[in-house]
Structures are given as structure tokens and as C-alpha cells.
Amino acid sequence: MNKQDVLVIEAHRTGRHYWRDLWRYRELFFFLAWRDILVRYKQTTIGIVWALGRPLITMLVFTLVFSKLAKLPSDGAPYPILVFAALLPWQFFASAFSGAGDSLISNAGMISKVYFPRLIIPASTLIVSFVDFLISLAILVGLMAWYDFSPSSHMFALPIFTLLVFFAAMGTGLWIAALNVEYRDLRIIVPFVVQFGLYISPVGFSSSIVPEQWRLLYSLNPMVGVIDGFRWAILGGNTPFYWPGFLLSSFLVLAILITGLYYFRKAEKTFADVI
């Protein structure tokens, strides 16, 4: 045995090998994601139906309310596609956020009995939501074919925006997961944030209806930049790209992610003691 294998445990120094450990435990990360996906589609026979049906039904309702009743503009694209392009990142964000929030509590047994970098747990719940995201993406492709709506070259920017929504979900998820361990009553707030967020984010309508002078202020909601990005990439050139808003939202997303990581790492040390 060589000297490099010595593991030193001391107060406030356990974080030294964190990122190396995270790499070592990558298999556990995949196993947990695999378990969550498996359980999700096993427990309910309607698992797949649910993954397909939820975005479709939401899309239908939003189209009916915002297009047919409120008569909001669709920026030239079919309204259902306008809505669906926004639902794609929003539903990913919403399910990843609430999934990550509950993840530590529901794996409390593991946390108090086994060591591994705790970051794995909220991160693996993201994968489950990502599978739903991919299913929704397939629905979108079908929808576009149905409306005979051909994608533009903007489509190539989609991975960038996907990464952005990943970061947004991860950042907020880490915050809520760590806070949830210490303050159990936060659990009640999560569904409220998700529901409220759906209406203050431009999911059912295009953000072009927001008056020009308020547009930058509106982008303080980081999901605005993300959703606008998705629309721009999917709907093509009809929607002009609003750079200031995008940059502001991206900056906020990164800030949430970095502070989220920092806070999670700090809180993580006492998870086993308080959970």
C-alpha cells in the first residue's frame, strides 16, 4: 500500500477529495438514476401514459385559454407549438425542482448509513426528469410534423438552452434540497413555487406581449430567458432573439447554480446529523 492511499478525516477537511470522490461514485449516480426511472415506470402502469399525457393536456388547455379565449398573438407559429416549445423546458424544470427538493429526505436511510458525495442524490433525480423531457421532445417532433411546421437552422442552438435549463433546475434543486433537510416546512412551499412560476413565466403566452420597457425586468425570472431561448430555437426566425434578457437570465442561472453548489456543500456535512 503506498502512502497516497491514506485517507485523513478531520474537522472541516472532509471536502478535500470531494470532486475525486464524485468521479469515483459515478456508477452509484447512474444506479440511482436507473432505480428512480425503473421505480417510476414500474409503480404505475400508466407511467408512460402519464409522461405523454401531462404535457399534451396542459398544451391543449393553454391553447384554449390563451389563444381561443384571450386571443393572444402566436408570433406566426401554430399556437400549440408555441405553447409546447415553452412547456418542454418548464416541465423539466418543475419536475426536477420538486424531485430534487424531496430527494434527500426520501433517501434519508442511505444518508445516515453510507458515505458517498451527497450531490449524487439530487443530481440523479434530474435524470428522471430528463427522460420525461426526452419523451416530450419526441411529442414535439410529432406535433411539428402534424402542423407541417419545418424547423429552422436555430434548432442547433437547442442543446445550449437545454444545458441552461439543466443548470437552472440543478441550482434551484440544490438549494431546496439542502434547505429541506434543515427546515422541513419548506416542503410546503415547493408546489406553490411550481404553480406560481407557471403563470409568471411565459409558458402559455409569448413574452413579446410584455411591453418593451418591462422586458428586461421580466427577465429577472431566469426561466424567461430559458423559455425564450427554446422558442427561438424551435419556432425559428419568426421570433427575434432578445439578447439582454437572455444574458441576464443566464447570469442569474449561473449565480443560482454556483451559490447552490456552495450552500449544498456547506450544509452537506451535517446532513447525517440532522436528517
Binding site: 500500500m1 485517507l7 444506479f31 432505480r35 409503480q43 453510507v114 433537510v181 434543515e182
Partner: protein, 423 residues
Amino acid sequence: MSPVIRIEHLSKKYPIGHQKQAGGNSLREVLANSASRFFSKLRHPFVAPKIDPTREEFWALQDVSFDILQGDRVGIIGRNGAGKSTLLKILSRITEPTSGKVSITGRVVSLLEVGTGFHPELTGRENIYLNGAILGMSKSEIAKKFDEIVAFAEVERFLDTPVKRYSSGMYVRLAFAVAAHLEPEILIVDEVLAVGDAQFQKKCLGKLQAVGQDGRTVLFVSHNMTAVSALCNKAVVLDNGRLVLTASPETAIKRYLGGESGEHRTSVEWNADNAPGDGTIRLIRVASLNTRGEESKFFDRNESIHIQMEYLMPGKHRLPIAPQIRVFDEAKTCIFVSHKPQTWLNETANSTYASVCVIPDHFMNNKRYFVDVYFTTPYTREVHLHVENIISFEVTDSERNSNFGIIPGTVRPDFQWLTKKIS
């Protein structure tokens, strides 16, 4: 040989919140507390903030240092709350120490619970992979050991059944099988042998012994002294978070069993002001005495145990008063109740009396026992006094080598046996 685990001045402190509800703080409480602190700071800016009286500290471990060499099989013993589990949690990196240092050389696998991360909806096969990954095995390692694990757990036929349909025995066998096939350099095990039936426990112990014989290092926490002395070549005794001694298992176990009874009383006396009882009877003294009439904590199996009660009867009474003792084992199970109508006092007049209950020799097992005292009037069912857990005594066995382990059973009466040739 250099130690594989070196523990230096290890301490761990936990805060205890008295009014805290189970399941963590609530944000509302925290916000309310910090708001009130903020306002009191506004009003009295130069007064140091009061320390929250509901926050108390508890040292689960204090200044513990010892070394473990390669190939050592170390038993960690101590009463509940002695700090055993905290020590294992720090060594497994689940929680951080408050101060001190641990250096570990080699790959550690800790088994603080069997079946951590088992999911009831998943099949046996899926759970083997999942649990293996949680315990730190790689996928290829698990695949290599898969058949062995299945054979050890004896669940071949149910591999593709969700574990929620398993019997509890099967569940535990599967969980232990995964853990038993880990190949760490250092294995940390906490009390897992307390599960499963006797036969399976034996199998597990055998597996652990095999691990130890391969030259790997084992840390083993257990309340089962037989298992500790069978498995370990060294033992560490913890008490109230402090290290008492590191020694051979025999010495350590003796110290642990001896020290454990130290906290308890062999006699209790009251004065007139605080004597338990009512207007009919007041208890003055309870003691465990040996045959020479001396107070004693320890009794050999070959001597009788005298439980003596002294009490005052202030008035005149026509109804009988029945003294009674109840004897309990460490699990607080009542083993027997004893009283004798022939010795009841049928008429009393302002006097002090003594009653003795003689527990015969060769009746108790070599264990520790606790005594309750009752005084009742049998006909009216009136309870005059009841003192729980008032004294304790411990029975040792000089006729038998304790290395053979403890004989099961809460009592061990010496019954009459006959053997004769019949054909």
C-alpha cells in the same frame, strides 16, 4: 507494522435542542427566533446576546485515541450511548468529527445496516446491483460475485420477484449476502448480526471470521459478547464517549460487564421525610445481602441472594400487609414475582419490621437483575407503595469458564435429573 487506522484525540459534539420537534427545525421557528434576537439587539445594543437555554451540547465522543493494525479484528463494546455508533459513523465518513484526526490506509467498506437503499418495488436481482453500488462495489465486481451472492442468500427462485413480496428472513439474507461479498481492506460492521434466525447468524459470523482470516482488518460493534470473543483478537471499551481501555477481548469484556453494574445501587435508605409509602406503611431501606448479611453487588451462583426490606408501620391495622418483590432482567422483562402469605403481617402497631426474600442458590443465570418492591393489602387490592428498579444485583458463575459464552435463559434453575439403565 504501521497502523491501518490511527485515531488521534477524536471528539464529536452534538447540539441537543430540548423543545425541538422530531424531524428537523422549522423555518418559521428559526425566523421567529432570529427576528426576536434582532429586536433585542436593537433595544439593548451593548448587551451580549443570551445563549439559547434550549440548546445544549452533548459530547458523543471525547478525546478518543487508539491504533488499529493490519489484520486486527477489533470489537468495540460499550453500553447504549457510549459512542460506538458515532465512532463508526466518523470512520465511515458519514459524519464529521468536531475535533481530532483519523488516518485510514486502504479501502473501507462500512456496514452500519443491512439492506441500505433496498427498494421494495425492485426485484432481488435489481436490488443486488443497487445495494452493491451503494456499498461501493463496481458493476463488474457485482457481476462477478452475483452467483455467489444469490447462493449465499438462498433466494435463487425469487430473483425476479420484487423484494416487497419477500419474507423478512429472505430480505435480510439477501441484504447480508451482498454485504458479505464485499472485498474491502477494512470492514466496519455495526450490530448486523442481530438479524435473521440463529442458523443464519451463525453463517454470517462464519463469513466475518473468514474475512478476518484473510488478513483484512475488521471493526465490529456488538452487544453480543459471545460473538465479540469468538471473532475478535482485540477489543475497545467505550463509556460515555470516552475510551476506557483497549485490551484482549477477555479482559475488555470483563471490564465492560463489571463496569456496567457500577452505576447501580445495592441498597437504598430513606429518612422519615422522603420515605416512599402512605399512611399505612413507609419504606425505610432495601438492600441485597449475601449469606453473611453483607451488602453485595455480586453473587456467585452457588450462594443465595437475600433481598431485605425494612419498613415502618405507623398505625394500628387489622388488614394484612403483603410485601412483594418483582425481579426483572436487563430487557426489563419480569422474570418472577415473589411473596408468601405465611409471612404477611396481620396485625401491626407502630413498629419497624424487616422482611427478607431469599432467592436460592443455583437458580439465577449469570446475568444482571433488577428489583421492584411492592406493598399491598391483598383483600382490598390497595397498593401502598411501589418502587421500581430500586436495586440491582449481578450473578457470576465461578463453576464455569465464561469463555464458553453465556448460557441462554434468564434463569438457570438446578433441577433434579435422573439417569438410569433401563435395559
